[in-house]
Symmetry: C2
Subunit: 385 residues, 2 copies
């Protein structure tokens, strides 16, 4: 095993990008990630790529990426794991570089969710992300799926809609400084509580948007890093965890066991504990999800997530700042891109280059929870000491 560094990170602005197809988005993000490498990089330096895309927007994902950015002479693998697709792509690329098969690889995540060539997007989202033979027909698409968990969390631990609203307030505030964010407006607790109900306990402002977006990283083996940068950020740990697909099988709803498993693996690989995390980008597809994440990731005890946000422990100046980029809630959630974009933000944070900078962060964590809360991927990055 070799150490693997992130040496470049690039994004495009997330949003409803009706003026861009997925190919233009891929080209733009590829230019941005290449430009981000301190000492420059040539396309010929890139030896392989992993592509996280969920919707096959323009057809065959690996081929569309290769064609769009002109990288036809390297292997490209598409990985998919529902909303954890982005961090899963990072994980598989990491294995191949650490294992010694490649020195410099590209990780791209991209998604076109607001429009697509086939109009396939609308029906694909709910069907691909859960069990369509059992769960979907009984009415458990995305929001209802997560609502079951959060409603039970409220019941068990007295978590309130006001506490959830604080997540939206925090993440929208953070997103104001993030140029890549889909939304640039703040919200108040009152506005969140008064927003039209989507599925209890989630009002419209408790839900992240569906977003077009792309993000990319360049990973490099330890022995080649010096050529590209003096300020690499290291991949300290990766994890992937699963849970039952069907909600009928889940026996403790106020948690996402997939997150617990993924995080445990990543912490162990990094040789650290949750309290060592200095900044985190965590999967706030719904406000209540972020509260459960605090607990599953070990940032606070079980049942204390509501108090954690109430005490401001996840704000920029708090104990473990969460979603300084604005998170999915404000920056947006282009599925395949989301986890990759989280790693971009953590990379910038650990280099001191972030828009909402957390001072002196050493370890940062990126986290996805997705599908029928059945899959989580976690990536832990570490600054060069």
């Amino acid at each position: 095993m070799r150490k693997v560094a992130v040496i470049g990170a690039g994004m495009i602005r997330f949003g409803e990008l009706l003026d861009k197809g997925i190919k233009e988005m891929l080209q733009e993000v590829y230019l941005n990630v290449n430009k981000s490498v301190d000492n420059g990089i040539d396309p010929s330096d890139i030896q392989a790529a992993w592509f996280g895309e969920y919707y096959e927007t323009d057809g065959m994902p690996a081929g569309v990426l290769a064609d769009s950015i002109g990288l036809l002479d390297i292997p490209i693998t598409r990985v998919e794991n529902a909303c954890a697709t982005g961090n899963e792509a990072v994980r598989n690329a990491f294995f191949a570089v650490s294992g010694g098969f490649y020195d410099v690889v590209l990780v791209v995540g991209a998604e076109k969710m607001r429009d697509s060539s086939t109009g396939a997007t609308l029906w694909k989202m709910p069907t691909k992300t859960r069990d369509i033979a059992w769960d979907f027909p009984v009415g458990i698409p995305g929001p209802g799926n997560f609502a079951l968990h959060v409603r039970r969390h409220m019941h068990e631990f007295g978590t309130t809609r006001e506490q959830m609203a604080l997540v939206a307030v925090k993440n929208h505030k953070n997103g104001m400084k993030e140029p890549h964010a889909q939304f640039h407006f703040e919200v108040t607790v009152e506005e969140v509580l008064k927003a039209p109900m989507v599925v209890y306990p989630f009002g419209l402002l408790d839900c992240c948007p569906q977003t077009d977006g792309a993000a990319a990283l360049i990973l490099c083996s330890e022995d080649k890093v010096d050529r590209f940068t003096k300020r690499p950020v290291w991949i300290a740990g990766v994890g992937n965890g699963l849970d039952y697909v069907m909600h009928a099988h889940k026996n403790f709803l106020p948690s996402f066991p997939a997150t617990v498993k993924a995080a445990k693996t990543a912490y162990k690989m990094a040789g650290i504990e949750p309290e060592d995390i200095d900044v985190a980008e965590i999967h706030d597809c719904f406000t209540g999800t972020e509260i459960i994440n605090y607990e599953d990731l070990g940032f606070c005890d079980r049942g204390q997530g509501g108090k954690f946000i109430e005490r401001g422990e996840s704000t920029i100046s708090g104990r473990i700042p969460c979603n300084p980029s604005g998170g999915l809630k404000c920056k947006g959630h282009p599925i395949g891109a989301t986890g990759v974009a989280q790693c971009c933000e953590i990379y910038w944070q650990l280099r001191g280059d972030a828009n909402n900078q957390v001072d002196g962060a050493l370890y940062g964590l990126a986290h996805n929870i997705g599908g029928p809360t059945a899959i989580s991927c976690v990536t832990i990055l570490r600054r060069s000491k």
Copy 2:
């Protein structure tokens, strides 16, 4: 990097499995692969899995696999690369084991193509496997896509429909002995030539069927192999190659450059030349595709593929027996399972356990070419000397 062995291989019978859902198929293949391990294996030995599935038949692939076979405490990654999905899953699992991250992992490929919970199959196949913004609207789904290449091969090199028919004759003959094959009937050159035309030069009997099926492998690091078997088969090389997605960009149609790139990488990793291959399972989605494969894989010179089959060099007793299992043409083509099943056959061949045994084979090769002829993955296996 550590050496990685295949220590188990299992399949289910391929076919139109209207009596089984994808979950039953996954359960059956998992039992079969576990039973195949010489000294036995316990589910707790398996540390991670890679799943090649193309259609998301019952929804979220990794979750459906975990749920179906009860492996909820290990990471599962879904990879997809059009018709190369199976060998791509093997390749990514290989990286993680060789890199030292896991000792024992499961690779599963499965596909339900004859029916699905959503009926999504029919329209998904042509859209996901090519560029739907450009190629698909001008009428280039699967058969027409490959026909463009084969028609040009006929024009350039005088390849004939009779030579292509010989591929069907050989593979159907081989498939007679293969209990997992979808078809158990032989065909004659005359029957192939007289079959209804699908798209010139492919008649119905030049085309592989669409198939339900599943296949699985267990991979193991070199230091743990002895516990499971005295007859491991080693992964000697893996490769992934791409080509332009759009046919308008392809400048030499009588070849699949993706195959040439994937094979070059795999041969180099294995430290061998094409002539070292003793048995091969190659992607005969159409008879003419197999002829081009002979050339792209280096089994014969460019333009000599027709003569290669005419001289019987790819028959069981020939110089490089190709598709002893019956190939896609006769055994069937359940997309995600196909490459994994090819590796099962090569594993059995190299252990001397195959139904159509090639004597004394040392090296075997598995090959997929897919999408708009834009992606190829190749796996080379080697017998323990």
